[in-house]
Symmetry: C2
Subunit: 357 residues, 2 copies
Amino acid sequence: MLESTVAAIRPLDEAAMAAARELQGRLTKPAGSLGALEPLSVRLAGLAGSCPPPLPEPAAVAIFAGDHGVHAQGVTPWPQEVTAQMIGNFLAGGAVVNAFARQAGASVTVVDVGVATPLPVDPAATGAAGPRLVAANVRAGTRDMTGTAALTRDEARAAVETGIRVAGELVAAGAGILLTGDMGIGNTTPAAALVAAFTGADPAEVTGRGTGVDDETYARKVGVVRAALARHAPDPTDPLGVLAAVGGLEHAALAGLILGAAARRVPVLLDGVIAVSAALAAAAFAPDAVGAMIAGHRSAEPGATVALRHLALEPLVDLGLRLGEGTGALLALPVVTGAVRVLHEVATFDSAGVAEK
Amino acid sequence: MLESTVAAIRPLDEAAMAAARELQGRLTKPAGSLGALEPLSVRLAGLAGSCPPPLPEPAAVAIFAGDHGVHAQGVTPWPQEVTAQMIGNFLAGGAVVNAFARQAGASVTVVDVGVATPLPVDPAATGAAGPRLVAANVRAGTRDMTGTAALTRDEARAAVETGIRVAGELVAAGAGILLTGDMGIGNTTPAAALVAAFTGADPAEVTGRGTGVDDETYARKVGVVRAALARHAPDPTDPLGVLAAVGGLEHAALAGLILGAAARRVPVLLDGVIAVSAALAAAAFAPDAVGAMIAGHRSAEPGATVALRHLALEPLVDLGLRLGEGTGALLALPVVTGAVRVLHEVATFDSAGVAEK
């Protein structure tokens, strides 16, 4: 499924992009006055292969949750059980991602791709009136990457293919845009390792303070990322190998979600550093997948900025968020919708009887 | 009316702000992880005097339109008639501000506070199912500020009081937040003059290319701003005098809208350079009015950044927009609503059964 998905990912449609550029020039506004929204609208026309492209509605947030063996190295002050507890919070509608999703009219799907502790919710009891839980646990958290590979190649593939499958299901159910979400105590450590592995950046440059660690924990975290990379020397041209060596199950699944969206030519709005580290893996599998990616926001984590630069993506929102869950992507969603809406609804100089300069 | 409005503007409520800070610390997210949204939510609690503050709904965009005698100096390639033509476009629902307002569920009110050419629409025929036109023309455009004061003090006051009155009407009709909009061919020239007058910045530092002028027009525009300031030497501690000397009718009315919102303790979301130049005037009338101001976006106009720094406001969105109309404010609105929604809807660690670090 991974190979056929990668093979289905194609470049943007140049004719649709040319039509969108031409239409932007006839709308009742000075040329270029919508800034970053104009090239975004052009790219979405290229992705859809039509001008205007469809409005990116409805939106679906997919939150992939996993735990991390590297938690044992003391890279975060939060107990591992919080991953499962927060899944309970997501399904009860009490987290920030739920508040933002309600506001944006987006659905929330939580996917257990690798939580280590028992979930407080029965998947069968979810989804009727609120968020849905998908049980797809590949293993109960990764292994500690400082001692051994976090995952086998087969486990990494299973997680990637879970993401591809979820993308397919959400698009089949009508989603016009997918938003990446994540939950996993300790998951900024594998994210930093992935960013370093795919971009060649130094661990100190891409490792951040996550949910807020002190100086001592931060220094240990940089050392853990450096040690894992030294031990495995992952090859950035082998994304499955990189994900297996130093990734997380939610990172791998997010790479799959991105590939699945790109293959179906549906835009995927990236959240923070977990998402963009996964996006590097997706781009390594299929460089044309970048055409489907929209950078929702610039996470406060330094690795996010390094990854976005590598992907040549400019984030839409930059408000110092470092929460994850999909919250940054949800804040950016109205900008994406607005960019497309302009092509649908704004009058031309001709039709409105407005003089040009 | 101006004096009583200014007198009604009071500092933020410290007790409500303390309560909001305390609540932010108990919600199920790492402390500070919502970045700029957290202090924004605290400030809005201080403005409302309650925690949580009301959701900023419904939203109302007020677009003040005027023309400019300085148009005769060749500061823009657009014909003056476009101001009136764009009002027709706003009322027909065909402009970018209309598309963004529909998306955000915001009402649109267009106020003719000083258009020079005949309007294509009868005010009485508007507002039933779409945008409303308010006829409040103080004069048919300003005078050319390079030759004489743009307005008399009485005209400037009439425009400011129009803005105060519109704010009062919108709040009385239920608006929970006001968004500033503007339309006026040539209006970035008086905006630059206002920013220079209130901040002391050099005209070259605050004058931009507006809707897109060439190098020759840009040089002329800087010269026009410099000449007007040299001629009038406006006193920044006399905001009515500054507005009369080098302002525009829409700038003066926007200053009034901001004062009216602040007096009623309703937040006002600022759009681009026209709005923030008016905000400088409002802050000169009443320094505590800044507590009600939210910077929607960072306009591509350099004067906007100088003005925001002077007001110590950080914009929420920075996407290179330079359209005006209220478009940048509308893109920022979901961020404001989201910041407040968190205080209403997110579970606490205690209530959700999530462990703390």
